[in-house]
C-alpha cells in the first residue's frame, strides 16, 4: 500500500502552490468580488488640508440627491460612539481618534464625511456636493519640529510627543572612556514609504437591526486586533462582531489598520436600516490615507570603537514619526528593540526613543515594521565607521558580527537569537557574486572616473513576537505571549479538512499547511483541503490570529502540526478498535480507496470514510469509551514567552530570527545620476525550509519592495502637508522593468525555538535598503558624500553631488 510518495517528507519540497490554480487564473475571491442584495456604496469626503479647524460642513445637498441613502459626519458619529482605544499610556490616551474628523482635521485626506448611495457613481456624485469650510492651522510635517510643540495636533494631550523611553544597557560611559575611535553622526533619516498592496482596502459591513450583530467581509489582515478596536468604539459587545476574510491581494501590514473605515461602514449600514454597505478604496485614497511605513530620524549618534574597529558602544536619539494618529503605535517604539544590536556584538548602548505625531497620514506596520528602520541605522553606522577608520566593509562586518558559536545569543536587552551564521552568509554571497572580480572591475572603473560602489546589507527578520512587549510601552495592556489556532478534522465523508486562523495574501499558507498535515497523516497534500482566511464564526482563531509579523511558519504551522497530531491520535484509537488490533500495529497510508489505516499484522484496512462513519453515521457498534472521539480537533499553539521586565525593558521579545544578507554593485551614472544596479545577490537563512520555492518567492518580493523603497518610492509632503505623491505616476512603485536580475542563495541554520526548525521570514528586513545605501556610500565616499537618507534617487544624488558645500554630518575622534 505504500507508494513512492508515502515517504513522510512533503515538508522541504518545492510543492507548487495549491492556491495557484485559483489565483493565477483570476478565479480568486476577493472582497470586492462580493456582491450582496440591496448593497449600498460608500464614498468618503476628505480634507484637502493637513491641519485645519472644520468651520462648517454642509451635507444637505448631498442628502437630497436621488440615490443617496444617508450621509455621516464626524460630529454626528461622535455623539453615539467612543473614540478608538489608544495603545499608549496616559496622557496619550487623551487622543480622540474618530474615524471621521470631528472638529479639526489632522492630515490631508482625512475623512470628514461619508456618503452612502445606491451605486458607486451616485456616491461619487453626492460626495462632490458636500460643502466644507476650513480654517487653516499651522501644519507640522517634520517630527523633530513637532517635538517643539509650537503647534499641537491633539490639544488635550498637550504635546506632540506621544511616547518616550530610554533603552540603556551595559556600561556606556565606560566604553566611551576606553574607546580608540569615537565617530559622531549628526543626523540620519529613514524615509516614509508604503509597500502598496495591489488590492486596496475593501470593507463590506452589515449591521443587522434584528440581533444587533455586525458582519464584516473585508480584507483586513489582523481581524482579531481590529475587532477589539471596533467593539469599544461602536459600543457593541465584542462577540457580536463577525469578521470574515477571503483572498487578499497583498497587505504587507498596511491593511492591519483599516478598522476606522470598517467602523464607518458599520455605522452607515446601521443608519441605512441594516443594508450592506461596501467601501472600495481608490488608489489615491490608499496612498494618501490608509497607512504609511514609519519615518524615523536618528540624531546625535556617537559610536565607540576599539582599535580594531570593533564597536563597543552606541548612543543615539531616535525620533519616530507616526503621522496624525498613533493607531497601531506606539508599539513601534518597542518593536525595533527585538533587533536591538542587529547582527552585531556590541553590549553597551543607550537609545533615547521618542515618537511624535505630525500632520501626515497615520503609519501602519509596514513590511519590516519598526525593525528595518533600526537595522538600516545600524548598517549605516557600520559602513560610516568603516569608511572613516579605513576598514573594508566586509572586514568591518566580520569583526563585529555575532559569531556562529555564540548562538543561542542573548542580546543586551534580553532577546534570544535562536540561530544564525552571518559570516557564512557573507561567504556564500561573495562567491555567488564574484566578489574578487567585482573588486578588480570596480578599481578599473574608478580609474575611468566611474562612480561604482559595492555594498553589503545584513539584516534580521524577527518573527513570532511576544505581545508582552506591548507592556513596555504601556504596562496596563492585557497582552502577552503569542498563540495561534488550527483545526484539523475528518469530515463526515472522510475528507481531511484543515482550518487555520491566518489570512494569507499570497504567502502560500494552503500549501505549506497541507505539507505539514500530509507528513503527519502520510497522505498526499492534494487530499487535504485547507481553509485559510479569518472567520470569527469558524472558531479556529485565537487572539493573535491574522497574517502579519513573519510568523506563520512558526506559530501557524505549529498549530497545524498540533491539530494534525491530535487528529492522528484519535484516528489511531478508532482504527485500533475497528481493525481489532493495537495502535502500534497501525500504518498510515493510501490504498485503492484513498487514505487509509492498515493493520500490519492482519493486512486489514479501513479508509477515512469508514472511520468517519463510525463516529457520524454508523456509530451503534462504537463502545462508549470512544464517544469522546470527534475526529474534529482544535489545537492552540502557545509561544513559550514570559512577560518582559518593563522597567528595565528587558526580556525575550521574539522567537525566531531569520537573517538576510544582500550584496549589490551600484553605479551612479555620471550623466544621468541614475543609481544603476549592476549586480545583486540575496542570501537568505530562515532555518529549516518548508517550501523552498515559496521562500524564494518571498525573498524576490521583499527584494523588490526594498529596491523600490531605496531608489523609487517615497511619500513626499510639502511644507504645508500636501501629499505630492498621491498617484502611482508620482509614487512610482517598483515594477518588473525596474528590477535587476537577483541571484539567490541560502543557508539553513535550524531554529531550536520551533518544532520544525523553521523561522518566520515573510517581511525580509528590508535588506536592499541597507545594501543600496551601503553601495552608494562606497561609490561616493571618495567625493566626501555620506549617505544620510534611506531614499536615494537620481535627482537626490545629482543634488548631493552638485551641492557647493559638503555637509559635514560625520566626524571622527582618534584617540590612539
Amino acid at each position: 500500500m505504500s507508494s513512492a510518495e508515502d515517504t513522510n517528507n512533503w515538508v522541504g519540497k518545492s510543492l507548487p502552490r495549491k492556491e495557484e490554480n485559483r489565483l493565477l487564473r483570476g478565479r480568486g475571491k476577493f472582497a470586492d468580488d462580493i456582491k450582496l442584495r440591496a448593497m449600498l456604496y460608500l464614498r468618503f469626503v476628505r480634507s484637502p488640508y493637513a491641519h485645519a479647524r472644520i468651520v462648517s460642513l454642509d451635507t444637505s445637498a448631498a442628502e437630497v440627491l436621488p440615490g443617496v441613502a444617508c450621509v455621516l459626519t464626524g460630529a454626528e458619529i461622535a455623539k453615539t460612539t467612543q473614540p478608538f482605544i489608544e495603545i499608549g499610556p496616559d496622557p496619550f490616551a487623551k487622543i480622540k481618534d474618530y474615524p471621521l474628523a470631528v472638529s479639526k482635521v489632522r492630515y490631508q485626506g482625512e475623512p470628514v464625511a461619508a456618503v452612502v448611495a445606491e451605486s458607486p457613481a451616485e456616491a461619487d456624485d453626492a460626495a462632490e456636493l458636500v460643502q466644507s469650510e476650513y480654517e487653516a492651522l499651522d501644519p507640522v510635517v517634520d517630527a523633530e519640529k513637532a517635538l517643539e510643540d509650537k503647534s499641537l495636533l491633539h490639544e488635550d494631550v498637550g504635546t506632540n510627543r506621544v511616547w518616550n523611553g530610554v533603552f540603556e544597557y551595559g556600561d556606556v560611559e565606560g566604553a566611551f572612556k576606553e574607546a580608540a575611535y569615537v565617530v559622531n553622526i549628526d543626523r540620519l533619516h529613514f524615509h516614509r514609504f508604503s509597500s502598496t498592496p495591489l488590492e486596496n482596502n475593501v470593507v463590506i459591513a452589515q449591521w443587522n437591526p434584528k440581533d444587533e450583530r455586525i458582519y464584516y467581509q473585508c480584507n483586513n489582515s489582523f481581524p482579531s486586533f481590529a475587532i477589539q478596536f471596533l467593539a469599544a468604539h461602536l459600543g457593541v459587545h465584542i462577540d457580536r462582531i463577525r469578521v470574515e476574510t477571503s483572498d487578499i491581494g497583498g497587505s504587507f501590514g498596511i491593511k492591519i489598520t483599516s478598522y476606522p473605515q470598517m467602523a464607518v461602514c458599520a455605522l452607515a449600514s446601521k443608519k441605512a436600516g441594516g443594508r450592506p454597505v461596501k467601501w472600495v478604496e481608490t488608489r489615491s485614497e490608499h496612498i494618501t490615507s490608509s497607512a504609511h511605513g514609519n519615518e524615523r530620524t536618528f540624531r546625535d549618534t556617537r559610536v565607540a570603537l576599539d582599535k580594531n574597529g570593533v564597536i563597543t558602544a552606541l548612543v543615539s536619539r531616535h525620533i519616530d514619526d507616526c503621522g496624525a494618529y498613533p493607531r497601531y503605535e506606539p508599539l513601534g517604539c518597542v518593536i525595533w528593540s527585538q533587533v536591538f544590536p542587529g547582527v552585531y556584538r556590541f553590549k553597551n548602548a543607550r537609545i533615547d526613543f521618542s515618537q511624535a505625531v505630525t500632520n501626515k497620514c497615520p503609519v501602519g506596520p509596514n513590511r519590516g515594521y519598526s525593525r528595518m528602520q533600526h537595522l538600516w541605522f545600524l548598517e549605516r553606522i557600520v559602513d560610516i565607521c568603516a569608511h572613516k577608520i579605513g576598514i573594508a566593509a566586509d572586514e568591518m562586518r566580520l569583526r563585529n558580527y555575532i559569531l556562529p558559536e555564540e548562538f543561542p545569543y542573548t542580546t543586551p536587552n534580553g532577546c534570544v537569537y535562536d540561530s544564525g551564521n552571518y559570516p557564512k552568509m557573507l561567504q556564500v554571497a561573495k562567491s555567488l557574486f564574484g566578489w574578487d572580480d567585482w573588486k578588480i572591475k570596480q578599481a578599473a572603473a574608478r580609474k575611468e572616473g566611474r562612480l561604482i560602489g559595492i555594498g553589503i546589507g545584513t539584516t534580521l527578520d524577527s518573527g513570532t513576537n511576544n505581545f508582552g512587549q506591548s507592556q513596555i510601552v504601556n504596562p496596563f495592556l492585557p497582552y502577552s505571549g503569542n498563540s495561534q489556532g488550527a483545526n484539523c478534522k475528518l469530515d463526515i465523508y472522510g475528507e481531511v479538512v484543515l482550518a487555520v486562523g491566518s489570512c494569507p495574501q499570497g504567502q502560500g499558507h494552503e500549501t505549506t499547511a497541507a505539507q505539514v498535515v500530509a507528513d503527519v497523516l502520510n497522505v498526499h497534500p492534494d487530499l487535504i483541503t485547507v481553509r485559510t482566511g479569518f472567520d470569527t464564526e469558524r472558531n479556529v482563531h485565537t487572539g493573535f490570529s491574522g497574517t502579519y509579523a513573519s510568523q506563520f511558519a512558526v506559530s501557524g504551522l505549529s498549530a497545524v502540526h498540533g491539530a494534525a497530531q491530535k487528529l492522528k491520535s484519535e484516528i489511531k484509537r478508532l482504527a485500533a478498535f475497528a481493525l481489532n488490533t493495537k495502535e502500534d500495529d497501525l500504518e498510515f497510508g493510501s490504498g485503492a480507496q484513498g487514505p487509509e489505516i492498515r493493520a500490519k499484522s492482519s493486512g486489514k484496512s479501513i479508509n477515512y470514510w469508514g472511520l468517519s462513519n463510525l463516529v457520524n453515521a454508523n456509530s451503534a457498534s462504537l463502545p462508549s469509551d470512544l464517544y469522546e472521539i470527534t475526529l474534529n480537533c482544535r489545537y492552540v499553539w502557545r509561544a513559550p514567552f514570559k512577560v518582559p521586565d518593563t522597567k528595565k525593558k528587558y526580556g525575550s521579545l521574539t522567537l525566531t530570527y531569520a537573517s538576510q544578507l544582500h550584496v549589490a554593485v551600484v553605479e551612479v551614472e555620471r550623466d544621468t545620476f541614475i543609481p544603476r544596479i549592476l549586480d545583486y545577490v540575496a542570501v537568505d537563512d530562515c532555518g529549516t525550509v518548508i517550501n523552498p520555492s515559496i521562500v524564494e518567492g518571498q525573498v524576490y518580493g521583499a527584494t523588490a519592495h526594498g529596491i523600490g523603497a531605496a531608489v523609487m518610492e517615497n511619500c513626499v509632503y510639502d511644507a504645508v502637508g500636501n501629499m505630492l505623491t498621491s498617484t502611482f505616476s508620482d509614487y512610482t512603485p517598483i515594477t518588473a522593468m525596474n528590477m535587476p536580475k537577483v541571484k539567490y542563495g541560502h543557508i539553513e541554520t535550524p531554529s531550536p525555538h520551533s518544532y520544525s526548525g523553521a523561522k518566520g521570514m515573510g517581511e525580509g528586513g528590508a535588506a536592499p535598503i541597507h545594501t543600496i545605501s551601503a553601495a552608494l556610500q562606497d561609490a561616493l565616499f571618495a567625493n566626501d558624500i555620506i549617505i544620510e537618507d534611506s531614499f536615494n534617487n537620481a535627482d537626490s544624488l545629482f543634488r548631493a553631488m552638485a551641492a557647493k558645500e559638503i555637509r559635514h554630518v560625520v566626524s571622527i575622534e582618534k584617540r590612539i
Binding site: 458607486p120 457613481a121 461619487d124 456624485d125 462632490e128 481608490t282 550623466d671 544621468t672 545620476f673 541614475i674 531608489v711 523609487m712 513626499v716 505630492l724 505623491t725 502611482f728 505616476s729 508620482d730 509614487y731 512610482t732 512603485p733 517598483i734 515594477t735 522593468m737 525596474n738 534617487n793 537620481a794 535627482d795 545629482f798 543634488r799 552638485a802
Partner: protein
C-alpha cells in the same frame, strides 16, 4: 472613482464625429481613452457628451506614399511599434515602443496623443524633428496644419471646437538621415522626466542638417534651435556635441515636480541629447542601435 454621468455617442464617420462636436458643444472625442478616461474618472474632465471614434472604419492605418508616411488618427501606439513600414524611420519606432506600458500602447492613439498636447507626451517631441503635418477635419472640409503650428501651448492645439485630427503625415527623411529618441522614465506607467529627439542628416563626416527637440521640460516640446545650429554644417565631434548639449540645456524650461527638480531635469535633458546624438550618428552610418525609453 467614477466619471460624472454623460451621454455616449458612437460616430459612424469622422465627418459625423465633427458634426456631433458642433451640435453638442460640451463634447469630447474618445479615441484610446488613455488620457481622457483617467481625467474623467478623477472628475477633472466632465464632458456632457462623449463621441466615440473607435467604431469608425478606416481610421487606423500606416501607409507609405510618395515620400510620406500616413498614420490614421486612430492608429494605436502598439500598431506603430509593430509596423515595418513605420520602422523605416527608427526614431518613430523608438517612440512607439516605449510609451507607457503594453496596455496603454494597445489603446492609445497617435491622433489622440497629438490632440491632447500633453507637455510630457512623446509623439510631439519626436515628430517635430521630422516634417510632420496634421490633417484636421470639420464636418465640411479639411485642412493641413504643420505640427509646429498645430501645438500652441500645454494642452492647447490649433483645432477648432468642431474639428478633429484625421491623419498624421510624416515626410520620410532623406538617405543618410537617421534619428534617435531617448526618454528617461522612472517606471512604465509614468511620463518621462525628460526626453530628447535628435534627427541628423549626414553627408559623409559632416552633419548637413540636425533637428533636436526636448520633451517634458517645457509647456510644449521645445525645438532646440541653437543646439541644431551647433551641429549643422559641422563634424560631429566631442566639441560640437558639447556645444549642442549646452545649447539644449539653455533652452530647457522645466518645472520641478516628483519626476525631478528644475536643475536635474535641465541637466538630464542635455545628457539625453548627447546620448541621442551619438546613436543618431551611428545609425546614420548604417549601424543597428537599440534605443528608446531608459528606466531609472
Amino acid at each position: 472613482m467614477y466619471p460624472r454621468a454623460f451621454h455616449y455617442h458612437r460616430a459612424g464617420s469622422l465627418r459625423e464625429a465633427a458634426s456631433m462636436l458642433s451640435e453638442f458643444g460640451d463634447a469630447k472625442l474618445l479615441a484610446g481613452g488613455q488620457s481622457l478616461i483617467p481625467l474623467m474618472k478623477l472628475r477633472y474632465a466632465n464632458p456632457s457628451h462623449l463621441v466615440d471614434l473607435n467604431f469608425i472604419e478606416g481610421t487606423s492605418y500606416i501607409k507609405e506614399e510618395s515620400g510620406v508616411l500616413r498614420f490614421g488618427a486612430l492608429t494605436r501606439h502598439a500598431e506603430i511599434e509593430a509596423s515595418t513600414v513605420a520602422g523605416k524611420i527608427p526614431i518613430i519606432h523608438d517612440c512607439a515602443a516605449g510609451i507607457a506600458d503594453v496596455q496603454v500602447r494597445n489603446r492609445g492613439t497617435i491622433g489622440g496623443s497629438l490632440a491632447e498636447a500633453d507637455p510630457s507626451g512623446d509623439w510631439a517631441t519626436v515628430l517635430i524633428t521630422l516634417q510632420t503635418e496634421v490633417r484636421c477635419q470639420k464636418s465640411q472640409g479639411d485642412r493641413r496644419v504643420q505640427l509646429t503650428d498645430f501645438i500652441k501651448d500645454a494642452y492647447t492645439t490649433a483645432l477648432a471646437q468642431d474639428e478633429l485630427v484625421s491623419e498624421v503625415v510624416v515626410k520620410v527623411p532623406p538617405k543618410g538621415s537617421a534619428g534617435a529618441y531617448l526618454a528617461f522614465k522612472r517606471s512604465a506607467p509614468v511620463y518621462p522626466t525628460a526626453s530628447a529627439a535628435v534627427q541628423l542628416t549626414m553627408d559623409g563626416e559632416t552633419c548637413k542638417d540636425a533637428a533636436i527637440a526636448l520633451g517634458c521640460v517645457g509647456l510644449t516640446a521645445i525645438k532646440a534651435k541653437d543646439a541644431e545650429a551647433a551641429l549643422r554644417g559641422q563634424r560631429v565631434t566631442e566639441k560640437t556635441i558639447a556645444a549642442a548639449v549646452e545649447a539644449a540645456r539653455a533652452v530647457a524650461d522645466p518645472q520641478s515636480d516628483m519626476r525631478g527638480s528644475v536643475d536635474y531635469k535641465r541637466m538630464l535633458a542635455g545628457s539625453l541629447v548627447k546620448r541621442a546624438i551619438d546613436i543618431a550618428d551611428r545609425r546614420a552610418r548604417g549601424e543597428q542601435v537599440e534605443a528608446g525609453h531608459i528606466y531609472a
